[in-house]
């Protein structure tokens, strides 16, 4: 079995896995990092959204072979110790979550957006594809604007 090393949330990890194994199951089933959620397995719902070298990815459709030597950040690695990332803080301040299942992905998508676009417009926010079945979209929009204003 091939072995892959990458930096996960600031720490170097090595896993033995088939090259085509999606990063999502490497994280969840081999490394016990369960913040990224399975919601569809085809990159449509985006509940698993995380970062690869700082860019948004859907780990359910990214093979682990593509991650070798790179930096993977999940929701668990977004905060700086106990200090929440501004997006997480805005999510708390706006009490965005309901069931919470899609929110790690929503937060990672928002953080990636803010990295590229420090003052996102409504149209930018509309382009976020992540599904929230509880319908928290209005608070997500509010929280993204708040995080943008606070940073």
């Amino acid at each position: 079995m091939p072995s892959y090393s990458f930096v996960l949330n600031g720490k170097r990890v090595t896993v033995e896995a088939p090259a085509d194994m999606p990063l999502l199951w490497v994280l969840r089933d081999l490394l016990n990092v369960t913040g990224p959620k399975y919601g569809c397995g085809v990159g449509a719902c985006r509940a698993c959204t995380s970062h690869l070298d700082g860019e948004e990815i859907q780990p359910c459709v990214v093979p682990v072979g593509d991650c070798a030597g790179r930096k993977v950040t999940t929701i668990e690695g977004l905060a700086d110790g106990d200090a929440l990332h501004p997006v997480q803080q805005a999510w708390l301040d706006c009490d965005v979550a309901q069931c919470g299942f899609c929110q790690p992905g929503q937060i990672m998508a928002a953080a990636a957006l803010l990295k590229k676009t420090s003052r996102p417009t409504d149209a930018d926010i509309d382009r976020i594809e992540n599904v929230c079945r509880c319908g928290t979209y209005s608070r997500i929009r509010e929280a993204i604007k708040k995080a943008a204003a606070d940073t």
Partner: protein, 696 residues
Amino acid sequence: MARQLSRRKFVVYTLAASTLTVAAPLGCGTPSAEGAEDAASDVLVTGTDEEMLVLEVTRANKVVVRLPRVEVGQGVTTAVAMMIAEELDARLADVEIPLADARTEGNQFTGGSNSVSSLYGPARRLAATARAKLVTAAARRWKVPAWSLRTGRTRVFAPDGRSATFGSLTASAAGITRPAVSAKPKPAAEHRVIGRPTTRIDARDIVTGKAEYTGDLSVAGARPTVVARPPTLGGKAVSVDDRAARALPGVHAVVEIDGGVAVVADTFHHAFQARDALKIKWAPGPLANLSDAAIRSRLRAAVPKLAAPPGGTAQTEAEFEFAFVSHAPMEVLTAVADVRSGSAEIWFSSQSPTDARESIASAVGLPSSKVWVHVMRGGGSFGRRLTYDAAIEAALISKKARLPVKLMWSRTDDIRHGRMRPATHHRIRASHARGRVVAFAHSTASVSESYEGLSAQGGARAAAAPLPSDSGLYNFGRLSGDSGSVDLAMPLGAWRSVDSGTVRTAEEIVVDEIARTLGEDPVAFRRTTLRSRTVKAVLDKAATAGRWGRSMPSGQAQGVAVHEEYGSCVACLVEIDATDPKNPRVTKVVMAADVGTAVNPRGLEAQLMGTAVDGISTVLRAGLHIDRGAVRESSFADFHYARQRHAPPHFEAHIMPSKRDPGGAGELGVPAAAGAVANAYARATGTKPRRFPINF
């Protein structure tokens, strides 16, 4: 007699324990616990906590209430924590609300929007009793009058500045039988926590990824498991060649079950790969010749005749069709099961764990006393977790494979084989004379479930066909209605707001059409015909806040609708941009709700927001097609539940002040939102929408 009944209703028991532990009966007002004869003062009982809401103050100064309900995002744990914190004068952060394991009896059902209303009395009485005992214990310790003590921040304070944590008093408070201060809940005017907009108690866990759902559990040895399912609903495997699948690395077992063929593997990747390597010949299911068009025509034919209209009246008539809709909670059905020869342990999110436990026990051939069901938080539900299909499957797979398993339905499993809101057909006729509606008739037909196999998969038979609304929301003279059904072998289930989601939506559309026929404004017409003052008040609030009647460019319009249920009522005003009728955008939603006391206004606003998105989704885009006995959709790529670009850029909720006890709120908004979206679309496009979702 009445006096005694009311005393019995307010009884709180003390459980024998070394820390302060009090319990209040749930459900109806008559306590049935053994040893609870005299309700005048509390009674020591040593029984179980079945049928009770139990509060414990730990030595570590935590207040723990094991809740016989499930948290699926609706915010019940936060609302109950607020009730407890209010009456105990505890810090919210010191209150913990774990979910209770399945019980053998009592009300452990989460549904019908009744959690807050059913817990409001017991939770507050419980905490008020605990507070009285803690104060009494402190008074004895300090030898001061109990009345001179204050409580706050999970502590008791003496006038001289001394203070003690509840945790340090809990052992002595456990022995107090007659508190020296009142154990009555506070009057509403003294509420400081109830009614204050409060952030979810689990919000930080959620935003840091720590919140734990069933799939995140690492129960020793529980292996990832998926099931190969038939292409059609109810299809059966006629031959299975599992040699290639078993030869793959990481595969532990392949077992056949009713719903398909299960693969148990090291990871979900290995499980999916082995599932795809199975060579299965499927026999088509019982609906293989049936598609949407035929279902629609059978439904139309099953609608009972409307009563004859009164003589001399003019008619406004309409027929409506609603497609099947998936519940599609973000967390797919997941269950961890460890079934041994003499016992079983299951972890999953369930709205009805008591029933689930019985059914699982009978499915695996164990007495229910040997089956433990641990209720997990759920990643959404919308009614889906009323049934426990996945838990029974997981238990059967675990038993057959002789392994603990973590079963996960794929999203495709969920949408193609999961339960759905039944398709319905509605025929409505309003009869009017001299500008007034004098008769209103509404007959419906619904697909209902006839599926022997499904009861074994964890579903009670779906409820009977919906009855038309008989609430008499409007002064519409003589009301009549009837319902019919088309029995089909389909997995159905109650969907948030159940029958009201279609029945009341259709009615609100007709109300707009009557107003148009009579040349009246939709809001003004409702104002003059609504019976209830509280419904008129929420309508007025939404109309004013949403600037009803403001002029809008061509292709854009406002729409309005109201709904009353669960002891609550709501109005919804929507603005839509339907310049492109194939791609409309709801640009603004204003809701006003009267739910009695709003325990957590921020949580209530969240529930209303969710129902607004449900209304937008089910009316405009989200539904399921049936093609030759199979569900066409398979993920969120084709089941078009709203995304950010379909959600209103502007949302506001207005909560009416009220002194009444809380009503229900979780499902309340769906029919009003759906009706308002449909009415706005009709006004913007000059069409009469009849089939939902509109763009499907």
